[in-house]
């Protein structure tokens, strides 16, 4: 919303941005990131969702109105730049405990001990990329700070990564800066958390775990890189709880999910990265923001037709308010993830099913009554308040035509607009018939992939690393 106001100001027209009390701080910080620290805002007392009509009217007329008029007619004072440390400055010289305390007290740490990022340690990371330290990866909202190879490494040291993880970290920073991902939404109130998936020979080279406990801590590559992600969101993107990160509950960093490429090769299924145009054997990371999900235990059946109804039901049960990302807001951007254990994938492949066959079946069968779909996006959440039914929206071209096949409220409609919207990956305990479903935050953390660039002489460097 503030980006719209910034665009208005850039067009030479004054704006007034309506902001609930609880958002004011975040709004002000976001405004700074937009280069408009004095962007005028008009406060709406309290939070609108919990006010009666009369309370809302009273608040608007007694407080907000005046502020709107002032925003549009009174010039705010000129803004001032904020001087800060230089990008490669030492901020503290001290013991391990002192540095940890200092970083924590200043909001640069996640509360666990960090590895003090000394120049020497950072340089060991820089040896694993051919990009120069000053190379600019991109700028990210809300802070509009520069992501550089250098600060990727600094945070990599802090997170407890090994130097040889650097190519993965750089690729992740690049993905984070990709406008298609939408990092600027990372502080939204649902508090969804990114899942990183990784493909390619680098899985084995860096000893990622891709078997039992694939989503559990305990394996340095998966764990430290997952931790790096949130440290980077904190220190460079600028998401801090109680300020720009407004996740109601939030989650914490997920460990990196590595696919079981041996199984994929055996059964002839493509890697997850193939969804983004990459090939088998390419080193790729993908990122998506997921709101939650569940383990789908004991998927029983000897044939896909016996197993998939349960998995379709799992997609349904794990999808609720997120349907707003199929119809209503950023249509067709809902991309849930289904992680199959190897034995489940093998069973399906043995019956001659490709990954796309599985998607197609799920697309056709993971369906709910239109009335239920509308209940989620309208009655329960008020996310969509336009007063039109899905049928009407489809007629007007504002929803995918799949939702306008009839007006029958009991007609079954899909959770996604396209079978390819269902992400599928293969990992986990190879012998357990469990799956995992992740529900997705739609456009607010859209699946994005990035190839991992290795330095020259990667193999030798790797051999020489700890």
């Amino acid at each position: 919303m503030l980006r719209a106001s910034a665009a208005v100001e850039a067009a030479g027209i004054p704006s007034s941005s309506l902001v609930c009390d609880g958002f004011l701080g975040q709004g002000a910080t976001t405004a700074v990131g937009l280069g408009l620290p004095n962007l005028p805002m008009a406060a709406v007392p309290g939070h609108v969702d919990t006010q009666t009509d009369n309370e809302l009217r009273d608040n608007l007329t007694s407080v907000t109105l005046r502020a709107v008029i002032e925003n549009l007619t009174a010039a705010p004072p000129a803004a001032v730049m904020i001087p800060e440390p230089g990008p490669q400055d030492v901020v503290m010289d001290g013991s391990f405990e002192e540095i940890n305390r200092f970083f924590y007290e200043n909001g640069w740490s996640d509360g666990l001990p960090i590895v003090p990022p000394s120049r020497e340690k950072v340089e060991r990371f820089l040896a694993f990329t051919d990009l120069p330290a000053e190379h600019e990866i991109g700028k990210m909202a809300p802070d509009n700070r520069q992501a550089t190879v250098w600060n990727v490494a600094v945070n990599g040291v802090m997170a407890g990564c090994r130097p040889q993880y650097m190519p993965v970290l750089v690729a992740l920073a690049e993905a984070m800066c990709d406008p298609g991902y939408g990092v600027e939404h990372s502080g939204n109130t649902p508090g969804a958390e990114t899942l990183i998936t990784i493909n390619g020979p680098i899985i084995k080279e860096l000893e990622f775990n891709y078997e039992q406990g694939a989503l559990r801590d305990g394996f340095q590559a998966n764990t430290a890189i997952g931790r790096w992600w949130r440290l980077y969101l904190r220190n460079v993107a600028g998401f801090l709880p109680h300020q720009t990160d407004k996740g109601t509950f939030g989650n914490t960093w997920r460990v990196v999910l590595a696919e079981n490429e041996d199984v994929l090769a055996k059964i002839g299924w493509p890697p997850h990265a193939a969804d983004f145009g990459h090939g088998r054997g390419d080193n790729v990371v993908t990122i998506s923001r997921f709101t939650g999900g569940d383990v789908i235990a004991s998927v029983f059946g000897q044939k896909p037709e016996d197993m998939l109804p349960y998995l379709a039901d799992a997609l349904i049960s794990q999808t609720g308010w997120q349907l707003i990302f199929t119809v209503g807001m950023a249509d067709g951007s809902y991309n849930p993830l289904l992680v199959l254990s190897p034995i489940l994938a093998e069973t399906m492949a043995k019956a001659g099913w490709s990954k796309d066959d599985v998607r197609q079946w799920l697309f056709e069968n993971a369906r709910i009554p239109a009335r239920k779909f509308e209940q989620y996006i309208v009655e329960y959440t008020n996310f969509y308040s336009g007063g039109r039914s899905m049928f009407e929206l489809a007629q007007l071209g504002k929803a995918n035509e799949l939702y306008g096949t009839s007006q029958d409220p009991d007609r079954l409609v899909p959770l996604v607009c396209n079978p390819m919207d269902i992400q599928i990956a293969v990992s986990g305990d190879p012998g357990r018939t469990n799956a995992q479903v992740f529900s997705h935050n739609g456009i607010l953390g859209f699946p994005t992939a990035r190839a991992i660039r290795l330095p020259n002489d990667w193999q030798n460097k790797l051999a020489g690393a700890e």
Partner: protein, 103 residues
């Protein structure tokens, strides 16, 4: 007792934003055209009519352009809609904008 010390580097990135100037403000709202921009969240559709009524009462010659003229500022068309704003605002002879809702 020898205790290791470390020279710890700053973990953040350099702020790169230049401060863009705000658009000039109006000297009065009398006779001006105000547009509403909405991200389709948080009861903007109820709030805008109330503000419009109050502003009209204070400034009888004001004109208003509704949010539907522009589309959602937070949907998947956000990029296009914002990029088109200079044109759409000019076409509608808009003098000022009320943009919501941040909650």
């Amino acid at each position: 007792m020898s205790e290791d010390t470390y020279a710890a580097l700053w973990p953040r990135g350099e702020k790169t934003v230049e401060i863009a100037p705000l658009a000039p403000r109006l000297d009065t709202l009398e006779g001006k055209t105000v547009a509403f921009l909405w991200d389709y969240l948080f009861r903007g559709d109820e709030i805008f009519p109330i503000l419009e009524a109050e502003l009209s009462a204070a400034y009888p010659d004001m004109k208003f352009v509704g949010h539907t003229t522009f589309g959602s500022t937070h949907g998947h068309e956000e990029g296009r809609i914002l990029a088109d704003l200079p044109t759409t605002l000019a076409e509608n002879k808009v003098d000022a904008v009320i943009s919501g809702m941040g909650c």
